[in-house]
Every structure is written in C-alpha cells, then in structure tokens.
C-alpha cells in the first residue's frame, strides 16, 4: 500500500521536492537554535512559551477533530462519510506528528526526551499529554491503514478493529482536554485558569479541524479526480459552524466573567490582547482581525443559503480557520504570560529563526498529508 506514494506525476514530485527544500532550510535554522540555544527565538525570561507551544496547542485541536467524521461514520453509521473518514484520520496523523515536533523544537534539552518515560510523573499533565498524543497517533495509524487495506481488498474491515475505533473517539476528546489541563490548572496564570478552557479548546478544534478538512476536500476535487461528494461537505460545514458558534459563545462567557467580576489579575491579560498594556500593542491588530473574521464567518456560514454555495463555503472556512489560528496559535499562549507575576509587561515577538523552524514543521506535516492522501487516492482509483 505504502508503495503507492512513490508513483506520481511531475506536479506531485515537484510539490514533494518543494516541501523537502523548505524542510531542509528549516533544519538548518534548527541547527542554529540547537547550537546557540533558544536565545535565537523571541522567548525570554517572562514569556517562556510562545509560537511553538501555541502551534502545538492549535494542532492538537486539528488532530482531535478527526473525531467529527469518525463518530458519525462508525457510531451513527452515517454512510455519507464513508469517503471522508479516512481523510480525517489521515489528517490526524500528521497533526499529531507536528504537535510532537513542536514540543521537540521547544525543548531546551531535546535529547533527554526519554526522561519523560524513564521517570514517569503522573502528577504532571504533560506526562499524560505525551501518553495521550502517542496513543492517539498509534490508534489513527492502525485504524487508517487497516480500514484502507480492507477497502482495497473490497472487504469489510476486520471485526477486531472495531474496539480500537470506539476507543479512538473518547481518546480524541481526551487529547485536547489534557492539553487544556496543561494550562488551566496553573494558579500562576489567571488567564488560563478557567474551567471553560477545555470546552473552548474542543469547540475551536471541532470548527477549525472540519473547516480544514472541507478545504482539503475541495482542493482534492480540483487537483484530482477524487470527489467526496457534495453532501458530506455540507454536513461537515454544519458541524464546523455549530462548533464555531459554541466557541464564540464560550469566549463571550469568559469575557463576561472576567469583566463583570472585574478582577484586575484576570482583566489585564485581555487588555493586553485587545487594547494593549503599557504601550505594548503587538497583538492588538491580530486579535481584532481574529474577532472580525469570526463575525464574518458567522455571517457567511450560519445562513444555509450561504454555506450551500461552495465558493462562499470555502471563503467562510478560510476566515474561520484564520480566526481560530490567530486566537489559539498566537494570542492564547503568550497572553498567559503577559503581564508577568510581577505585573510587568514583557515584549514578545517571534523571531525569523523561530518562524522558519515552525514553517519547517508545517512543511513536514504537509509532506505527510500529501503522501497519505496520495495513498488513499491511489487505492481508491484502483478499486473498480
């Protein structure tokens, strides 16, 4: 099955080589970071987690969102998702791998990573996150390849895979919940210390993930003969927009509690994001862009007439994805650190080196998605 990834046309190979080149350049930047230390990033004493950890958080969401196709297909026997489910699972695999890579590039002593298993610490949410992500990766690789293999032979998937599929559903929820627990249990960071963080993470994940999947399906239809069909895309669109509504609702909950309550410790982080604090306004334009895009998304995709038009749907998915990416992939993590425990505002802007490494990780993700989707497409094409 894997060999199918080695046959492709010129476009396919040039895309792979392009990604390879990006990865190679990013690797050189990583070598620089490895040799000189994390000082080459914008991180520092006060903002000690930044772009890498934010991307990790965002991508855990994308990985978890595979459950939004797995659950209807396997649990509710929603046959329409037959073609799309494998794409969801094969999107989860590179997402988890990217999560792991983002953790890896953020570590000060990456070669000591096995210490997490040599000295397991059940008190630490990070330990459980490692277990959850590792398990989720294995589950998706197993389920994806077994079901695709059965499909190739025109048989039903073997019975023994069913328990794994059932387990993968709560497991998907758990990876993002545990990721939220990384943050929401810290007394030191009032911005994250909210019970609504895990639900918010899940809601944003279940809208951004399906939105990305819709975009990938539309892209596949354009560049190949593979078409998942109109209806599953429409169903996914409904899932994405409902989850987005829930996400916006939860953000408004958070804002009410914070500002009606009026505790300075909680408000200052929001102020830093939306109006700037002590003259530090780096995130202000970003956060307003995110908010406006969220509203635009709701306007575009809530009316059925809007999302039924696939052009508008595509646009709405793009605005949705960017809006959540800015919120989770930029603001969420850094704002937890600013102002710092001394109520002092520190400046954080990712450096070029940092962005280059992050781009490299995304390129690795894109490479794996390409290879996996190529396998799926080839297998499907060979089925009479």
């Amino acid at each position: 099955m894997i060999e199918k990834a080695f046959y492709g046309d010129k476009k396919y190979w040039s895309w792979l080589f392009f990604l390879g080149a990006v990865i190679l350049i990013a690797f050189l930047f990583y070598m620089r970071q490895f040799n000189r230390g994390l000082t080459v990033t914008g991180l520092g004493r006060d903002v000690s987690w930044g772009f890498y950890i934010a991307q990790f958080t965002f991508l855990v969401g994308v990985a978890a969102s595979a459950v939004m196709v797995v659950l209807p297909y396997y649990l509710h026997n929603y046959k329409m998702f037959g073609k799309i489910t494998i794409l969801g699972e094969f999107l989860a695999i590179p997402s988890v791998l990217m999560c792991m890579l983002f953790i890896f590039v953020d570590m000060g002593q990456p070669f000591r990573i096995l210490n997490v298993f040599l000295h397991p610490s059940p008190n630490s949410p990070m330990f459980w996150d490692t277990v959850a992500l590792g398990g989720y990766l294995c589950l998706n690789i197993l389920i994806g390849f077994v079901t695709l293999g059965a499909e190739r032979k025109l048989t039903a998937p073997p019975k023994w895979i069913k328990p794994f599929i059932i387990i993968s559903i709560p497991w998907a929820i758990s990876i993002h919940t545990v990721t939220a627990f990384l943050y929401s249990g810290l007394v030191a960071r009032p911005f994250w210390m909210t019970a609504v963080l895990a639900p918010r993470f899940l809601a944003s994940a279940f809208s951004a993930g399906p939105a990305l999947l819709i975009l990938l399906c539309l892209l596949l239809r354009k560049i190949s003969s593979f078409d998942v069909g109109k209806e599953p895309i429409q169903k996914l669109a409904v899932i994405a927009i409902y989850a987005m509504c829930l996400n916006v609702f939860l953000i408004l909950m958070e804002i009410f509690t914070t500002f009606y309550g009026g505790m300075e410790d909680h408000m200052s982080h929001f102020k830093y994001l939306f109006v700037g604090l002590d003259g530090n306004t780096f995130f202000v334009p970003w956060m307003w862009t995110s908010s406006i895009l969220a509203i635009v998304t709701l306007i575009l995709l809530i009316p059925p007439a809007g999302r039924k038009n696939e052009k508008i749907l595509a646009l709405g998915c793009i605005t949705l994805f960017i809006s959540i990416w800015i919120d989770k992939g930029m603001g969420m993590i850094v704002a937890g650190f600013v102002p710092n425990p001394f109520h002092v505002v520190a400046r954080y802007v990712p450096t070029l080196n940092e962005l280059a490494i992050a781009l490299g990780v995304y390129a690795i993700g894109a490479l794996i998605v390409t290879l996996l989707y190529k396998i799926v497409l080839s297998v499907r094409a060979s089925i009479p």
């Binding site: 997490v116 990070m126 810290l186």
Partner: protein, 259 residues
C-alpha cells in the same frame, strides 16, 4: 518460511508497543508508592525589609549568591542588562511588584520605595514540582527544600509557567559565554535547563549558612528550621508582623517578610 512485508511492519510495530510496557510498569510501581514519612524539619527564611532597606543599593546577598553558584550576568551590546536571557536566583523587586496584592495608592512613601529581596519561595505546595514531567524538580522530604536536578531537566519550562513568583530562570544560551571567574566548587549550568535557588543545600551539607545569609552585613536575613520552636526564625516570627507573597494561592511560601 516467508514473512510478508506487511507482516514484518506489523511485528515491528507490536514490538515497539512492547517497549512501552516497561515504563508503564515503573509508573504503576510509582503510583503504588505511598508517601514517605516526614521528619518534620522545614527550612524557612525571614527577611527583615526594615534592616535590608537601610543601605540603599546594597546587593551583597545577590552578588554572593550569584558568585558561588556561577550565575551568569548577560549584558546587551549597549551595556544594558539583557532582560530576555536573564538568569537570577535572588534579586530585588519594587515592593509593589513583589507584593502586588498588598499594593495600593496610599501606601506609605517608605514602603513604596522598598526594594524587596525575592527568591524561590520553597513552597509547601510547590506548583512547579507537580507539573514537572521528569521529577527534575522535587521537594525534599527531610527539610522542605525545593530542589533541582540539572542532569535530568529536559528544558520544557513547564515549571516556569507554573511558578506564581517568577522565581525560575531558563538557560536560553550557554552561561559560560559570559562567566569569567567560576567557583570551581560548584558546577555551572548548560544551555537548555531551568535553574533557581536551592537554599544553598550544598553549603548546608557542610554546616554553613546560605550564602545570602552570610553575606548580609545588616543581618536582615534569618534562616532556620521553622518547625523548631526554639529556632531564631521562630522567635523572629513570633515577635514581628510578617507577610508572604501571594498567600491566597495556597502555595504556602517559606520566605517571610518583616515590613
């Protein structure tokens, strides 16, 4: 005998899963381990800010600590301190910053101008310890010191995110870039690990007081076992009004301040 490629991959995958079983069994042993009995000793520190603030600009405790522990001092090309890569174990903070929940507009001028000495609080319930994924930081049962193992730290910086007191520093770069004279009786750190005050446990084992305590000419820092009713620190605490940093968080710090 013929092994198909697919079978080979399956067997390899299953064997890898088998490897996971080893740490898993260790984990179970860890969970089964009950909490060891405590000897009842708890080291703590009382800092008399009245005495401390008498000599303005004094940095004796900071200099002594940073010298014995080979703490680097990074400066920017223009000579200003490098706040981004900064490493510090003990330092001075404005009263309003260190005690931001005691801060208000009409605080007496004298207090407003106090520069409070801050360091690791060696909390009773240290959030940094519970989050560490490798037990590279832990609380010593015998005396309550929150320790660091720089051999084991993976540099994930979760402890920095968890510390409500900003007491932890990360080695963003190699400290030896700027360390000129080194105390050969103590290691430096390498880039990529977190460090902080460890109550001079290496000096305590020799029967010495922490470096900052010894260095203070004003005798503003008193150190000892807070569970011993006859200790100097207990006497000081029973005769003076003391405050803690962020007591509401439930961390229960071991650094007491007399204002």
């Amino acid at each position: 005998m013929s092994i198909k490629r697919r079978d080979f991959i399956k067997i390899t995958g299953l064997s890898t899963l088998g490897l996971v079983a080893i740490p898993a069994s260790e984990l179970l042993a860890e969970i089964a381990k009950t909490e060891t009995s405590k000897s009842g000793k708890k080291l703590a520190m009382a800092i008399d800010l009245r005495k401390c603030s008498k000599e303005e600009g004094c940095t004796d405790c900071i200099d002594a600590c940073h010298k014995v522990h080979n703490v680097p001092n990074f400066v920017l090309p223009d000579g200003k301190p490098n706040r981004k890569d900064e490493i510090k174990w003990i330092w001075k903070e404005h009263f309003g910053h260190a005690f931001n929940d005691n801060q208000h507009e009409f605080l007496s001028e004298k207090i407003q101008h106090i520069e409070a000495v801050v360091l690791c609080n060696h909390c009773e319930n240290p959030p940094c310890v519970s989050v560490c994924p490798t037990k590279a930081t832990w609380k010593r049962d015998e005396d309550g010191i929150v320790m660091m193992d720089w051999h084991r730290c993976i540099g994930c910086r979760y402890c920095i995110a968890a510390c409500p007191y900003g007491s932890r520093s990360f080695n963003w770069r190699d400290p030896r870039e700027v360390l000129e004279e080194q105390n050969t009786d103590f290691p430096t750190r390498m880039k990529g690990v977190v460090e902080k005050c460890t109550f001079c446990n290496e000096r305590l084992s020799r029967g010495l007081q922490p470096a900052c305590v010894e260095a203070c000419k004003a005798n503003a820092i008193v150190f000892g076992d807070i569970h011993d009713p006859k200790s100097d620190i207990r006497k000081l605490l029973s005769n003076n009004f003391t405050i803690l940093r962020k007591p509401g968080l439930g961390t229960n710090p071991a650094i007491y301040y007399i204002v």
